[in-house]
Symmetry: C2
Subunit: 383 residues, 2 copies
């Protein structure tokens, strides 16, 4: 894979907080910074995965990885991504949803090269088939080079009500691709917000609807133009940052601090995508998961023959289908703690240094009720 | 309560190990040293409970409390019982079951006063109704003063197969006593080992059988005589210790080290009680529990309106009937860890600094399988 034409930059959106992986995830340690599938943090895997697209695993590739995050996450994010250059770290002075952040990145990259293609990716998703993922992104990059703001649509596996949908033009758009078939962009008919169960079932049955996974690919200049057309207040703010940048880095930093918090807080989906004509979508079938809960972490984890995912050394007696995660600090390997499960089934068990969670896998979505309760008690340090 | 005649000494048997309260109980921290019902260790409660019987809560009472334990438990046992005098600590050089240990205590006390009454108690049981317990013991002490080796029989509440039984003479021996009725000794017909389910049901139905709770009351001299009659090898060993004691404390200590490991390893039940004529039993109905598993710990624990017993500060969402025990060391109160249970029912959850156990309450007896597994793995430090 290579970029024979304009360079490809990747912008990883890493500002999110979330409660669904409590107690592993915290305000100061959101999901993308966790090694939820063992090994490296999700954001590290996200960046590493796309290096071939933006110049290879050497410094040339890392130089085209941009990270947008909040001030409170700068230190752990840099620790998770030592290859990312400091000047590629876009630190949002205030959370303003995705449109200002993507616009800011597009403007910054456009100052270097308005023809440069930008690939926007969430930081905390799982991709099973990385080669296919890169093929799909290559097709999307080619589409973007042709002038179309392009998105990736995930072929739905079930009538999920937790995602937005994208309706693609042409019957069979969302049908599984034949093995080895090239990834082909389709015209987008519309973006649809999270639907009811009934509508979701209709969408899946229609064969034309894909899941919106929050991946967007465009030329930097095209996104600026789209923002100018549909979010003029945002465009003006970005112009102000542009003018300051012409006076130097210090003036630019000042302008960001001053301008960013006043930018309209709107998602790129609502603010831009829903209004742009000529959008393209490349259907993707690369084993995608948004890792939405401990249940999906268990689904993706390595498991023993009885369906248990547990740290080495755990004692499992008549236990099945459990997901055990131990994120406690350990002084030394020979000082390991023993986790013993006897006669239990389908539990999620998560230990951190200051919390223990036990919840049935099929109630993993109720973890947020614990976070709510802790906040209500004033125990914010645990959330 | 007072002893108007001979003094009463209490011997607390505290040598036991056990696996049923893993991971709280360990070889170096057996059940009697744990605060299983909150507050103080079980052995501390056991000693405090009988102080009125042997001289009151002052030093006179503590001076008549004897503890038999193993060398490896001396330090934590003394920490749990700062009131017990060092010379009342009988440190067994090797575990030889209960007959040698009780015989040694009887011989030692008999050298001070052969008429002294000795009350032998397990260290790790729970008594709900302490005033009634003391009434029953007073009746047993009176019986022992009359020359009968006496035991306490617990009125059975169900056909338990895990206890030995004592058959008492006379119909209705095991019937519940009328409120306020005096505790009355009965003649023992026989001791019976742990029965089958069918026999246990017959025993309970008969109204004559009581549970053997391992409590024995006798004059020191009477026990020595019974041992001489039924365990001559033990009697000879005790004579040797006696002769050494006449030469001073150092000689006595040497003799114990030399003699004790060779004494016959037999229980006082098998070796003495089953053979002695004229035994008496006082039926007891004072809310007794041997605290045999996490299930019984839950039964006796304070619980919220949904049947949960959990540390203050736990977050319980749709959880019921759970027993949560946190025995981890904490640096400071404001550094407490949060334990959160969501949507789970009937679980036992136990945390220590180096282990976590999760088991359904109704499988609490399977905890020993974890200990077996850890031993098989060579992880003896966790057992």
């Amino acid at each position: 894979m290579s970029s024979t034409e304009t360079p490809v930059h990747v912008l990883i959106l890493a500002g999110g907080a979330g409660t669904r992986f409590w107690p592993a995830s915290r305000a100061a340690r959101p999901k993308q910074l966790l090694p939820l599938l063992g090994g490296e943090p999700l954001i590290t895997a996200t960046a590493r995965r796309v290096l071939p697209l933006c110049g290879g695993a050497g410094s040339a590739g890392w130089e085209r990885i941009w990270i947008a995050t909040g001030q409170h996450l700068v230190a752990p994010t840099r620790a998770a991504l030592p290859g990312v250059s400091e000047r590629r770290l876009l630190v949002e002075p205030a959370p303003r949803n995705t449109a200002p952040c993507i616009g800011w990145a597009a403007a910054t990259i456009a100052r270097e090269d308005p023809e440069a293609v930008v690939v926007v990716l969430p930081s905390d998703h799982h991709i099973a088939d990385v080669p296919r993922f890169l093929e799909v992104l290559e097709a999307a990059v080619a589409s973007a080079r042709g002038g179309a703001i392009t998105t990736i649509g995930i072929r739905p596996t079930h009538p999920e009500t937790g995602f937005g949908y994208i309706e693609a033009d042409g019957a069979g758009s969302a049908a599984p691709a034949a093995p080895g078939a090239p990834a082909t962009p389709r015209r987008v008919l519309r973006f649809v917000e999270k639907p009811s169960r009934e509508r979701a079932e209709e969408f899946v049955a229609s064969g034309r609807f894909l899941w919106n996974a929050g991946m967007f690919i465009f030329r930097a200049g095209d996104m600026r133009a789209a923002i100018r057309a549909h979010l003029p207040a945002l465009a003006e703010g970005l112009d102000e940052i542009d003018r300051a940048a012409a006076r130097g880095a210090a003036a630019e930093a000042d302008a960001v601090l001053r301008v960013f918090p006043r930018l309209p807080a709107v998602s790129v989906d609502h603010g831009v995508m829903e209004h742009v004509a000529g959008l393209a979508v490349v259907p993707g079938d690369f084993g995608w998961s948004d890792l939405g809960s401990w249940q999906s972490a268990w689904e993706l984890a390595e498991k023993d023959e009885r369906g248990n995912s547990a740290p080495a050394g755990s004692v499992l007696v008549d236990a099945q289908g459990n997901h055990v995660v131990d994120l406690r600090a350990r002084p030394a390997p020979d000082d390991r703690r023993v986790i013993a499960l006897v006669g239990v089934e389908g539990l999620v068990v998560v230990e951190t240094d200051d919390a223990l969670l036990i919840v049935p896998r099929d109630r993993a979505q109720d973890v947020k009720r614990v976070v709510d309760e802790l906040k209500a008690r004033g125990q914010g340090r645990h959330t």
